[in-house]
Symmetry: C2
Subunit: 143 residues, 2 copies
């Protein structure tokens, strides 16, 4: 799988990727139908997005003959991780904790997810610093 870090997937493109990831692989017809039902998009719109994703090498065309099959080239997990990292990279490091807290509160998580997060946190607690420094401006500040 190609490095998801190098590909920027836009909001509309995400919708298509989600469908492809979930289906595993799909024909354009299947995608067009799914996108029409999900987002009300015209066939053209889905085609364009699919095309852009191919150019970005986030998706690849398979099967030599005409009704091609489309498959993801970038993984869902990696892409999501990259998008999340990208977001947090733009925010104040000092606020990451409370932002994560907000996300956890507003999302549905399974028992397994929670157990996993608890394990990660327990481990992380061992080496956690007392304070995280604000990194918004040159020099030390507190935001």
């Amino acid at each position: 799988m190609q490095d998801a870090k190098n590909v920027t997937i836009t909001d509309s493109e995400w919708m298509v990727m989600r469908a492809i990831w979930t289906m595993g692989h799909a024909t354009s017809r299947e995608l067009i139908d799914a996108m029409n039902e999900l987002e009300g998009w015209s066939a053209s719109t889905t085609k364009t997005l699919l095309h852009r994703l191919i150019q970005k090498q986030a998706v690849a065309q398979h099967g030599g003959s005409r009704p091609f099959t489309y498959k993801p080239v970038v993984g869902e997990k990696e892409s999501m991780a990259a998008a999340a990292d990208d977001l947090f990279d733009h925010m104040c490091a000092m606020r990451a904790g409370s932002t994560i807290a907000g996300v956890i509160q507003s999302r549905e998580l399974s028992r397994a997810d929670i157990a996993n997060l608890q394990a990660i946190l327990a481990e992380k607690a061992k080496t956690a610093p007392e304070e995280v420094q604000c990194n918004c401006l040159p020099g030390d500040q507190t935001c």
Copy 2:
């Protein structure tokens, strides 16, 4: 403070907001200098961004006379929460847990942050479902 949900702050604009949030309030000169040092931007660029933020009502101009003071209208915490929610809204609900896990692992968190997250998780565990359903396509799927 105005509802951060309604304002879309772009990547470049975020940089300016971070500076304003950290400084609490600032003159354009201060912002221009900070942005030049941080991002290497020309004065014009910062001015434009500041302007757009004013139009979006994310920032307000204060003080009647010429060297105006600029202050945030939207809060940092709310804006970050909105941005994070926006991101997770576009992703498969089923994958939120592992994405959060990745974020936690890659970010620096203080002891207090961790304790807070642990408390939230403990509470959330009480009512957590066994499974979270994939919401990428119509009908139940697993992605």
